[in-house]
């Protein structure tokens, strides 16, 4: 109960995006009702054709009445097209507003929310869910009022023709509604089961495609095919079973409406015999009956569509209600004096929804131009440390200072403007190499771009491309190799001329020699940024000014390479596992 109420208010909030189209969303249904009214008049006109025209053998009257019918048709057509236009305009506009709101809202979400909701989900919300809602709104504006109105109107008209005969309507309509909605209620949850069956078949198909090498290596092709066939068979049986009931809908409604018509004829005959009713009126009643049938079936379809749209709308408003946990300071501070310093003071971080902290009580100080290496196993918190500097996440305890100011006191864009971040996953965008590099700084000049490419060890391969800087980058950078992508993302960060450069395991696809050259070039870069270097390779970090060794979120050692070799057991373990025997070899 409470929940539905909450959903209700949530949906109401979405109506804000409809505001612009208030006029359209009122006029649309109104014109639709007008059209329906004209449609309701048709059987009455036809009845008078029979009762007056035919009865009096008045040809003129018949032709006049039929012209009236054509007139009603034309007016109905105009009304209906007008209504369609308003409905289309309102629903499309609403969808566009909704998409804009979603996009802008999603952009404001912090990493915490993005982790929780997931990019793929948000993309679905913005595309297929919004489309469903658009359809729903369009249908609602066009039909939601119309169908009940026609049903009700036809009933009223029938009652004005003859209320006693019309009692047949009062009996059959609830019956019809019960059958239609009963079948719908029965099938809807079962269609969900069918969907689940389909998902299973899909899962097996995907598994077999992604795991094709393993399947074949173990010679399990036949067994996998059997497994697929089994699931597929179950799905088919389920579909046939549900289909059996849902295909009862048409025959049953057919029976009901025709039996009702038969009863109507009988009752009509009795009333005519008693002189209460004319022959034409009986025909009119029969016509109303069939109008009602058509509308009830439309309504059933409408309800299915609307409930789908409502479910989507609910999911959308869920996203819109997700608030960014990253609060902006009311009066942001200006940058401090010490450019390029990063200080962690007793920093701890527990990710939202996680039971254990990912980082515990970390303190260190990085001076301008220093290189800080961060090493440790998977899940030891390496990326967490560097994610705190551009305030991708907020600390749970302690504080992070950049240039002497707490990161939470900066305007986020000012803070991030100081930092060039290169993430683990090399992401490039559709466009040209130049456009991608300009993400770093929009007004960067030609020379600066090439300089950045040179430092990132990317100059050579960009020069070899036929289009050079104008070479196209396809979606996700699919036309580039892993190593090329990594080097371009590094160049992009360098274009920024950052005070602080973060390289989060971002050279993993480079061979050792290129990796070494890259590190050297960055060290010698003009402007000497403070560099945070996350790596799994001890050799990459050897020359760092400080190395932070993380184990399960705790710093188990901070110092230079030689200090750590002496004092830190975890570091020694990592180092030796990578350099086993190499030491001996070198010693020989």
């Amino acid at each position: 109960m409470q929940r539905t109420e909450k959903e209700g208010t949530r949906l109401k909030k979405l109506l804000v995006y409809m505001k612009e189209y208030k006029k359209e969303s009122i006029l649309g249904p109104l014109f639709k009702l007008l059209e329906a009214t004209f449609e309701l008049l048709v059987p009455l006109v036809m009845a008078s054709v029979i009762d007056v025209g035919i009865h009096n053998r008045d040809q003129n009257y018949i032709i006049r009445m039929c012209l009236l019918l054509v007139g009603l048709g034309v007016v109905g057509l105009i009304c209906s097209i007008t209504a369609q236009y308003f409905a289309a305009k309102a629903s499309v506009g609403f969808a566009a507003n909704l998409r804009r709101a979603l996009f802008s809202h999603i952009q404001s979400l912090s990493f915490t929310e993005m982790d929780r909701v997931g990019g793929a989900t948000l993309i679905t919300r913005m595309t297929s869910d919004v489309n469903q809602v658009q359809n729903g709104v369009n249908l609602t504006l066009r039909l939601l009022l119309r169908s009940p109105f026609v049903v009700f109107g036809a009933m009223v008209m029938a009652f004005t023709v003859d209320w006693k005969a019309a009692l047949v309507f009062a009996a059959v309509i609830p019956l019809l509604a019960a059958v239609v909605f009963g079948i719908m209620l029965w099938t809807m949850p079962r269609y969900k089961k069918v969907q689940a069956g389909l998902d299973r078949v899909l899962g097996i198909t995907r598994e077999n495609l992604t795991g094709v090498r393993v399947v074949r290596a173990f010679g399990r092709e036949e067994a996998e095919t059997r497994r697929f066939q089994e699931s597929n068979r179950e799905l088919t049986n389920l579909q046939v079973f549900v289909g059996r009931i849902s295909s009862l809908m048409n025959p049953l409604t057919f029976v009901l409406i025709n039996v009702a018509a038969a009863v109507l004829i009988w009752v009509g005959a009795v009333r005519v015999d008693a002189g209460f009713l004319t022959q034409g009126a009986v025909v009119a009643l029969l016509n109303y009956m069939s109008q009602i049938l058509v509308e009830l079936i439309k309504m059933a379809n409408l309800i299915i569509n609307i409930s789908k749209a409502l479910a989507c709308a609910n999911r959308i408003s869920n996203v819109l209600e997700t608030e960014s946990t990253l609060a902006s300071p009311v009066s942001p501070k200006a940058s401090g004096e010490e450019r390029g310093t990063v200080v962690f003071e007793n920093v701890s971080l527990t990710y939202a929804g996680a039971g254990a902290p990912s980082l515990t009580n970390l303190s260190f100080r990085a001076g301008p131009g220093e290189t800080i290496g961060i090493i440790g196993g998977t899940g030891s918190g390496k990326s967490t440390v560097v994610n705190l500097i551009p305030r991708f996440y907020d600390v749970t305890e302690g504080r992070v200072l950049v240039d002497g100011v707490d990161v939470r006191e900066y305007d986020v864009n000012v803070l991030r403007g100081k930092i060039g971040a290169v993430m683990q996953k090399a992401v490039l965008f559709t466009g040209t190499i130049r456009e991608n590099l300009l993400w770093g700084r929009e007004d960067a000049g030609e020379e600066e771009l090439w300089q950045a490419l040179e430092t990132a060890q990317a100059r050579e391969f960009v020069e070899q491309k036929p289009g050079k800087l104008e070479e196209a980058v396809s979606q996700g950078g699919k036309n580039l190799s892993g190593g090329q992508k990594q080097r371009l993302t590094i160049a992009r960060a360098l274009v920024r001329r950052p005070e602080i450069l973060i390289l989060d395991d971002s050279a993993s696809a480079l061979d050792f020699a290129t990796d070494a050259k890259l590190r050297k070039a960055i060290r010698e870069m003009p402007g000497a940024p403070t560099v945070f270097l996350v790596s799994q390779r001890a050799s990459s970090l050897q020359y760092a000014d400080q190395i932070i060794v993380l184990d399960d979120g705790e710093a188990v050692g901070i110092g230079t390479h030689s200090e750590l070799l002496e004092s830190c057991e975890v570091y020694r373990e990592i180092y030796e596992s990578q350099f086993q025997k190499a030491g001996k070899e070198a010693a020989v």
Binding site: D273, R416, I419, Q536, G583
Partner: protein
């Protein structure tokens, strides 16, 4: 023109698959005819009944009662036969779809890796699932509505002709107008819908990039700029959606208007004819209801045709997959390799994925039983190519690879692969329990054997600690266990079979030191006395190898022992010096 031909070809393929259900199909057509006949006969009976209701005191009750009884019988017949038709259609459609899916899956199992590697799995999945689903909908709708639609039109014409020729002519003359209107609008809107889906595709692509990579967008403070770009696309989409939706939504009122013209035409001509004594009021009422019924199938059929076209388009995508050239089948006289002795002989092998880009040329290597071969080189240098050739996922272009002295093309693929144990970095596990996964190569293995294998792979200790132990279900993305644990499970999977030859991919960065050490231990244990090919990252593995293959950009550039390669002073020694030796 060409599209039409493709469509025709697809239709033929669909029909061929439906053929085995022809009995059901014939039944459907028969039942459809019965349904339509009964449905059409009811208005005639109603009309007759109305004719018996003339006015006060002029009602023939016993006549009406007789007619109503007849109506009741026909209602029953119509309803039953309609249900029967629906059931039989359901059955045919879903079975055909099931057959097509099975066919597709059987095909996937024998498609060459060359094809599967070149096609994104998402695309293939959507062919087998979404496209086939759409096809099922179209087929079902086609069956039910096309049959009854066509029969209704024919039947109505016959009945109407039987009752009165003039009115029938009026109806026949006016209806095509409705078709013309619908066709006119459909043609216009098709272009608009295409434009709409094009812009929508553009927008989806943009959203995928920006939302999918939001972290980068935020890191570079690019939010405003991408919002601007978004607004521009969004506005374009709004405009062309409005046009498409509005114009397509005109169809309904327009055809409804034409229907009302038909209705009116019947009214005028019918009423005048009643006046002149041609027909009765009952016949008129019957005609009025026919006028409604007759035009409806036309609208429906035009809908069905687009739906069917869509369904055929979807079907053609599945058929493309089904008809794809399968891998070359095992040779007729292919031998079953029982237990390989472990010798592998690679002779002057040449191979490339694309003809124009030569990769491996003139590669010769003799591996004695029990030897270790290390593959070394930067990521993406083509080490998997060698694995592809050894396992015969791909066939060599020239030269030959022999195992136990037989060219592997003269062995059955299955028996060749059974002699290799493979642990890749891409740790694929199937959805199912841990036990099922470990026993993947030998499903009949007992729990004891599974546990034994897990112990040997150093996986037992973590499995034991999982809430359900060996019955823990691994979710589809394997999210409930870590990457390193997954690799241990893959090792256990091989441990259970322990074939005479191994292909191993050492862990690189994503595994923590302790798990890595365990994996290393497990590898060592497995490799004892077995011919092994190892994609190596660790110096110790490399130095222990009998042969090192150094790869770069897909080519094998150097080959020899550690000492030989160092002495040569080539790429390997550069690699070695930059990574492992301290200055």
């Amino acid at each position: 023109m060409k599209g039409k031909e493709v469509q025709k070809g697809t239709l033929k393929k669909v029909l061929r698959r439906i053929r085995s259900y022809w009995m059901f199909l014939a039944l459907s057509v028969l039942l459809a005819a019965v349904t339509v006949a009964a449905t059409l006969y009811i208005p005639i009976l109603t009309g007759r009944a109305v004719d018996l209701v003339i006015g006060r005191g002029e009602v023939d009750f016993s006549g009406i009662f007789r007619i109503l009884l007849q109506i009741g019988v026909f209602i029953g017949i119509a309803a039953l036969s309609q249900w029967g038709m629906n059931l039989s259609n359901n059955r045919v459609a879903y079975r055909v779809v099931r057959d097509i899916r099975n066919e597709a899956m059987e095909k996937i199992q024998i498609l060459p890796l060359r094809y599967l590697d070149a096609h994104p799995s998402g695309d293939l999945v959507s062919r087998v699932i979404a496209d086939v689903d759409q096809f099922a909908d179209g087929l079902l709708m086609g069956f039910t509505q096309l049959f009854t639609g066509v029969i209704t039109i024919l039947g109505t014409l016959l009945f109407m002709l039987h009752e009165d020729v003039t009115i029938t002519v009026v109806v026949v003359l006016i209806t095509p107008v409705s078709l013309l209107v619908a066709a006119f609008i459909a043609k216009r809107t098709y272009a608009m819908f295409r434009k709409q889906s094009q812009v929508r595709g553009e927008q989806t692509g943009f959203i995928e990039e920006m939302v999918g990579n939001q972290k980068v967008v935020q890191a570079f403070g690019h939010e405003e700029k991408s919002m601007q770009q978004f607004e521009e696309i969004n506005e374009r989409l709004r405009k062309c959606s409005l046009r498409a939706i509005f114009f397509s939504s005109i169809t309904n009122p327009s055809t409804r208007f034409v229907n009302s013209l038909v209705y009116t035409g019947v009214g005028i001509v019918g009423a005048l004819s009643v006046v002149s004594g041609g027909i009765t009021v009952g016949t008129l009422s019957c005609f009025l209801s026919y006028a409604n019924q007759y035009t409806k199938p036309f609208n429906e059929i035009s809908g069905v045709v687009t739906e069917l076209q869509n369904a055929l388009a979807c079907a053609s995508r599945v058929f493309e997959l089904i008809e794809e050239e399968p891998q070359q089948p095992d040779a007729q006289d292919a031998r079953v390799l029982e237990e390989a002795d472990g010798s592998v002989n690679i002779e002057q092998v040449g191979f490339s994925y694309v003809k124009s880009r030569k990769l491996i040329e003139n590669f010769t290597l003799k591996v004695a039983p029990g030897q270790r071969v290390a593959l070394v080189g930067p990521t993406g240098c083509g080490k998997t190519t060698v694995i592809n050739l050894l396992m015969r996922f791909y066939d060599v272009d020239s030269g030959a690879i022999s195992v136990s002295g037989t060219d592997i093309r003269r062995l059955t693929r299955k028996s060749l692969r059974r002699n290799y144990g493979m642990v890749l970095q891409d740790t694929w596990l199937k959805r199912g329990t841990i036990r099922e996964n470990i026993a993947y190569g030998r499903p009949e293995a007992s729990l004891e054997e599974v546990v034994e294998a897990a112990k040997a792979a150093h996986a037992h200790s973590f499995i034991k600690r999982l809430p359900e132990g060996y019955d823990t279900v691994i979710s589809e993305d394997g999210g409930n266990i870590s990457q390193g644990q997954k690799q241990l499970l893959c090792i256990a999977r091989v441990m259970l079979c322990l074939p005479p030859m191994l292909i191993l991919d050492e862990a690189t960065s994503s595994i923590d030191t302790r798990t890595e050490q365990r994996i290393q231990k497990a590898f060592q244990k497995m490799m004892q006395g077995r011919t092994s090919f190892i994609v190596a990252h660790r110096l110790s593995t490399i130095m222990d190898a009998d042969v090192i293959l150094v790869m770069r950009d897909g080519h094998i550039i150097e080959q020899g022992t550690h000492r030989e390669l160092l002495e040569r002073g080539g790429f390997y020694s550069e690699l070695y010096n930059s990574q492992f030796v301290q200055t």
